[in-house]
Amino acid sequence: MDTLDLLMQGFSTALTPMNLLYACIGVLLGTAVGVLPGIGPAMAVALLLPVTYNLGPTSALIMFAGIYYGGMYGGSTTSILLNTPGESSTVITAIEGHKMAKAGRAAQALATAAIGSFVAGTIGTALLAVCAPFVVKFAVSLGPSSYLAIMVLGLLTVTAVLGSSKIRGFASLGLGLAIGLVGLDPVTGQQRLVFGIPLLSDGIDIVVVAVAIFAVGEALWIAAHLRRNKMETIPVGQPWMGKKDWRRSWKPWLRGTAFGFPFGAMPAGGAEVPTFLSYVTEKKLSKHPEEFGHGAIEGVAGPEAANNASAAGTLTPLLALGLPTNATAAVMLAALVQFGIQPGPLLFENEPVLVWGLIASLFIGNTLLLLINLPMAPLWAKLLQIPRPYLYAGILFFATLGAFSVNMQAFDLVLLLVLGALGFAMRRYGLPVLPLIIGLILGPRIEGQLRKSLQLSGGDVSGLFNEPVGVVVYILVVILLALPLFIRLWRKFRPQKPGAMHVEDQIHA
């Protein structure tokens, strides 16, 4: 019961008054940014990075984790009451949730979402506590060549599997990797992409890039397309559920959790696929399939649970391998690096206080979230009425402040504007921002592992394939990249399309 001991120690870390305070701030901020349009957990964490330098890593990460989980709760409130999901992971929730709200069952929809999120988040966090040490045990024995392979897998899957256009994904990845090159080469000290500008020789701060892409780019993009007509928010009272709602919700919660966690833990799992799978499953298993499309409570309970469980799953590769698989995790990894902590499997050994304090704080944060979201949902919904000029001016204001306070250089603000314009263009032309951020963060680490591997083998390329794990991962990479090609060939010879491929049909059937 080693894990249990460590977890108990984690609770003693997380329950100190200071850390408890940061967990509270985190979940409050997280719910707020989840509810507010145009601002999500990744942006919130990026904006707070510079401010948290003086906090110490444990408190900062506890706060970030609270924001991460809180964003999920807040996001579901918005998608149920407003029917315009801010994030792709809550698209499915919006389908049934908004129908329920329109039919006067907003209270039940919010309740099943919040309680389902709590159940899934708690189980997911428990699975994280159990699984992560196993992954670590397996991973500490790996050499640089296997790490290289795993990171390449993470990079390529995020780029090629998520998002609608592979070309645009790789374009975004290339931009991120190029930004990551700027500065002095860590081994030889050679200048790369510095162009004789001394301020660039330290590289471009990840905070500046993250704030530019997530905050400035987003604010400018929304400003250019700001909705003129006011959106209608459905008024809501205190969330509650009757006996029948409980009976119809608890199984979808558990099944959603079972879908969400493993997908979140996979390099390219994300939250979209499990929420969709959960929705389809609930529709198939439901005793009231006719209600689907008109506000079926199972269609909110399952996907919401899947969404939160996948959030917990995402933390497994982040903490155990140093591999981020979504935007918030990527910014959290950047935070670790800023604090001078080396991410990777040694994290559990070197920073047990931080890791287990963080995991324990997830249990606490999740409980706090249920407590603040269930009775206070109507209050949170009021946030939607904030005048938009103040909201978006505020995002620009705090983005500027955050980026400036890192180095106190006006030059960073020039970079912020240029990269913000890039973020604007990427949103307009459908380039996903996730590959850019992941490429920026993993690029230099991949280069480091590549050079270490070949250094060990004395320049012999076979040094890249000297561990079975690495070879298996490369085979996976090849399969993943070749899979669409096979599917296309398969379709060519088998013209009738398999029904399961049609997301839209399934939802609207």
């Binding site: 315009t84 645009r168 080469d185 929304i222 400003a223 250019a224 106190m408 307009r428 380039l431």
Partner: protein, 171 residues
């Protein structure tokens, strides 16, 4: 930059997306030219050297530039990002974006000389105005309040000294 050249019709949007391909191509070229300039004698302790990654990334950028150009010419379109407050039925509204950028630039120019309290006030007030608020006095007071609060909050709360500028003796 009139609104007509913007995402008004699908055809014009298609052509403008080639600009992204050009940007990627230019970025790839810059990365490759920069890499070719790096002197990297072979060394046993670092067989990969500082040039390999830039070469790979430069090629990746050039290939995606070419692929994107082909995709666009064949009628492929990137999907503009949606969101709660985003209404894609009207084209990009430069009358909002350009003043926003203006406020941002003004802040960059003022922040060191005039100090954060003044430049931050200008930034927030200008942004709120650009976004359509016309409560000049209320907005001005809120802007000044925010700038002052962050200045002192950072100073006392975080120990970060934002530039005081011309108000150095006053604050």
């Amino acid at each position: 930059m009139s609104q007509k050249t913007d995402a008004g019709t699908p055809a014009s949007k298609g052509r403008s997306e080639l600009g992204i391909a050009a940007l990627l191509g230019a970025a790839g070229a810059v990365v490759l030219v920069d890499a070719s300039r790096i002197a990297a004698p072979y060394s046993q302790s670092d067989p990969v050297g500082p040039r390999t990654m830039p070469l790979v990334i430069g090629v990746l950028l050039l290939v995606s530039a070419a692929a994107l150009a082909v995709n666009v010419l064949r009628g492929g379109r990137g999907q503009a990002e949606e969101g709660e407050d985003v209404d894609l039925t009207h084209p990009s509204d430069w009358k909002t974006v350009l003043p926003l950028v203006g406020a941002f630039v003004l802040n960059i120019l003022l922040i060191d000389a005039a100090g954060w309290v003044i430049s931050g006030t200008v930034l927030f007030w200008g942004s709120v105005w650009a976004l359509g608020s016309r409560h000049y006095i209320r907005d001005g007071l809120i802007s000044l309040g925010l700038a002052l609060a962050t200045f002192y909050g950072f100073y006392f709360g975080l120990g970060i000294k934002l530039p005081a500028g011309i108000l150095a003796g006053v604050l």
